[in-house]
Amino acid sequence: MTRTFATADAPHIPATSSVASVMQQVLYALLPGIAAHCWYFGPGILLQIVLAITFALVFEAGMLRIRQQPLRTHLLDFSAVVTAVLFALCLPPLVPWWIAMLGMFFAIVIAKHLYGGLGHNVFNPAMVGYVVVLICFPQVMTQWLPATAPDSWTVGLWDSIITIFSGQLALPVAWDAVSQATPLDTLRTGINAGLTVEEIHNSVIFGDFGGRGWEWIANWYALGGLWLLWRRIISWQVPLTMIGSVVLLGLLAYLIDSGSNPSPMQHMFSGALILGAFFIATDPVTGCTSNRGRLLFGAGVGVFTLVIRRWGGYPDGVAFAVLLMNMAAPLIDRYSVPRYYGK
């Protein structure tokens, strides 16, 4: 009696991971940072995340439909959700709802699907979305709240909802009364006004080693990032060289002229550097693939971030630096192919 069997190709052991599980782990790793963000800046960020995810999924579904791709598989790969969350985390917590819509339109429709969808996009979609709204609506995009503990939030949950959906501050005061510049912005305007870094640091918006509140959010992001490293979801090369180059060059500048250059700690813990190093520049699709390429990529993002912060038109430069290096990634990849066995 012979028995027949269905055949298949080797290897015959199921794959150990999936795109969805990779993306889910990135989301888990963001949770501590999101919680910290919420603690210091109020619940607005949660609403922004929900809005961004909703718009992202709607645009994703629409584009998949148009491109005749399987809806279920791609919606459940969580890549659009990760894009949405990373985008939302860059926003001031109380920006109007259409910022998320516009940002996600550019991120998902333009940057992702018009370039060929998952795996084919040249530019980091979240950063494309963020940069578009940042350039188009600079006023709105600088309306940050002061970082405070929950007991002294100026805008509560309900007020946040009203503010986000109406586009008007829900409190009987003007925006200027509640909003506050970010630490990096304060540094920038201060230095431009001829103040020394030390004088600027006396402001209440600075904490122990970075911006007040910002420093702790960065720490929690770093914790999530380290977990991703341990889980081997991201590789160590990009975070190391990105943070490393900022610290080294920042230190050099600080040592040469500490009056007009903030300390490397300020650079690390005041803006989006940590978030960028662990979660944005590590995006595999738009980054480099070889290890040597990743070292270069990270270093490039770090250097550009510093350059933009020092000489550019924006207080923080992570998003622009990432996009600039996205452009360079294919070239770096071409020239950093490792020597294979026996060659």
Partner: protein, 541 residues
């Protein structure tokens, strides 16, 4: 300081190195090591496939109805392989007919079908008692005549490797007992039950190849195997044999990887281990060589691991080549309820067989039956997200995702430039790919397609060269012809001018004498105009 490769290779086994990538896999080897080594029952019919090996075709040496004795040659390979296939038992050749032949393609092929007579009568054997003093050439011949091939799964003819080793002058023989694929335990069982044979095999191959040193490499999780081998080495007095334990990382048992672990060296592209002064052979191959040289017995049986959750009583069986797999499964208690896939080889590199009518072949180190729970459920393939996990685990230090792009776009030259041919098809990249891209399948396709394209290119290049040569030849013929015509024309013109001169002189003479004019009727040029000359078509010039 870095030594020249060959000198560094001489230090093999002194310290252990790492190879790039690899995976730590659950090995499931205990399952098939619960029972002692058994012997498969004689089936009603044996099917010895006339499988092509390394491009050589096998030709039957027997005819239908012929009685054969155990160990009698029944098929011969064309040169240059010149290997042999032997009758696994005594009986009658009932047919030479198409039958499943355990080929990766799943296709049928010709097989010599033998009905055993049950007496298991050997043909006349020629044991070599003085093999330790015998001429190494004799040993090599015996290995060739006995149909010994690499039993680790690659089935490369052993005598060819040994001859290469002799030609290059090797210093170290490495016996590969690092059985890194999950589930397979036939080598471990062999070293456990017949360590003496393995050691003898090592010595036989040493004499045949001219190696000075022997290293036997086993895996660190093989437990007592180390002690058994140590005792066997002790009792045979071959104290120069060095035992080495390597860590259990897949695919450490691959020849290239094992060499890298033992020497820290890579086998350079286009070269063979023999160029580094190394000969690498599987432990089972060594045991078979010992059997062939010392007892004169050809390769007619091998140890097969029958295992997996799809089999009721997994075990290692000594099985005659040609035994249908169904017989072995039956002897192991049959299939369990949820048997789903039948593999020849391990789960990483083995291939699925369409039915258990396929027979045991020399490459059959393992018959693995996986259940529905074991095998990959159909998961949708997504585009590559360039995460680079595949590159991290690749033992050949390739960029599988880059190769995959090259192949998808038909860029076979680029793929070759990126090292496609260094791929050992171990399957590590497949296992870690979050997008479930069948990378190994792409690479197998790319290699064969690339070969075809290279061939086609060669043919096209040859045709182009031929065409250009022909054009050149035709042009030179035309040139010669033009030259000849030109010469002819000039000659004629000269003649014509001369003729004119003559006419003029004659006319002058005639005028001067004022006599009635004497006309020359044949004063006009005599030759045809040049364009009426028929060109001679002499391509052979």
């Amino acid at each position: 300081m870095r030594l020249p490769a060959r000198e560094q290779a001489e230090l093999a086994g002194q310290r252990l190195y790492h190879f790039h990538g690899g995976l730590q896999l659950r090995h499931y080897k205990k399952i098939s090591c619960q029972l002692p080594l058994g012997r498969s029952k004689l089936p009603p019919r044996l099917y010895v496939p006339l499988l092509p090996h390394a491009g050589a075709q096998a030709h039957a040496l027997v005819v239908q109805g012929q009685a054969v004795l155990k160990g009698q040659p029944i098929a011969r390979y064309e040169l240059p392989q010149a290997g042999l296939l032997h009758a696994p038992t005594s009986g009658t050749v009932t047919a030479i007919a198409p039958h499943p032949i355990s080929h990766p393609s799943g296709e049928e092929g010709m097989a010599v079908i033998i009905e055993p007579d049950g007496r298991d009568l050997w043909c006349k054997l020629q044991p070599m008692e003085q093999w330790q003093e015998a001429d190494p050439e004799l040993l090599r011949q015996r290995i060739a005549e006995s149909g010994i091939v690499g039993l680790g799964g690659a089935v490369f003819p052993t005598h060819i490797k040994v001859n290469q080793a002799r030609d290059k002058g090797i210093h170290t023989l490495i016996l590969n007992g690092a059985e890194c694929e999950p589930y397979i335990s036939c080598d471990e069982m062999l070293m456990r039950e017949q360590p003496q044979r393995v050691v003898q095999g090592a010595l036989v191959l040493q004499r045949a190849s001219g190696a000075r040193r022997i290293i036997i490499a086993i895996e660190d999780q093989m437990g007592e195997v180390w002690d058994f081998l140590e005792a066997a080495i002790e009792s045979s007095g071959a104290n120069h044999i060095q035992l080495v334990k390597v860590t259990n990382i897949y695919p450490e048992g691959g020849e290239k990887q094992l060499i890298q672990v033992l020497t820290g060296l890579e086998v350079p592209e286009g070269l063979r281990p023999a160029d580094l002064g190394l000969l690498c052979q599987n432990v089972a191959t060594a045991a078979a060589a010992a059997e062939a040289v010392i007892d004169g017995k050809p390769l007619i049986e091998r140890i097969v691991t029958i295992t997996g959750k799809g089999v009721k009583r997994p075990a290692n069986l000594l099985a005659l080549l040609g035994t249908p797999i169904s017989n072995l499964i039956e002897q192991c208690g049959g299939y369990s309820q949820d048997a789903a896939r039948l593999l020849l080889g391990g789960p990483m590199m083995g291939y699925a067989l369409p039915s258990d009518a396929n027979p045991v072949i020399k490459a059959a180190n393992c018959i693995l039956v996986l259940t529905h729970a074991d095998v990959a459920s159909e998961r949708e393939e997504l585009p590559c997200i360039r995460c680079g996990e595949c590159a991290r685990v690749c033992p050949a230090v390739l960029l599988p995702q880059q190769l995959q792009w090259d192949l998808r776009h038909g860029l076979f030259d680029d793929a070759a430039k990126h090292g496609l041919n260094a791929c050992i098809e171990c399957g590590c990249c497949d296992l870690v790919c979050p997008s479930h891209i069948p990378l190994t399948q792409w690479f197998r396709f790319g290699k064969s397609e690339g070969r075809i394209q290279t061939e086609e290119k060669k043919t096209a290049e040859l045709a182009r060269q031929r065409f250009e040569a022909r054009e050149l030849r035709l042009a030179s013929i035309q040139q010669n012809r033009d030259k000849r015509l030109e010469e002819k024309k000039q000659n004629l013109q000269k003649q014509f001018v001369q003729q004119e001169k003559i006419t003029a002189v004659l006319q002058r003479v005639a005028q001067r004498s004022a006599q009635p004019v004497l006309q020359h009727s044949d004063a006009a040029p005599v030759a045809d105009p040049p364009d009426s000359i028929q060109p001679r078509d002499d391509e052979s010039s």
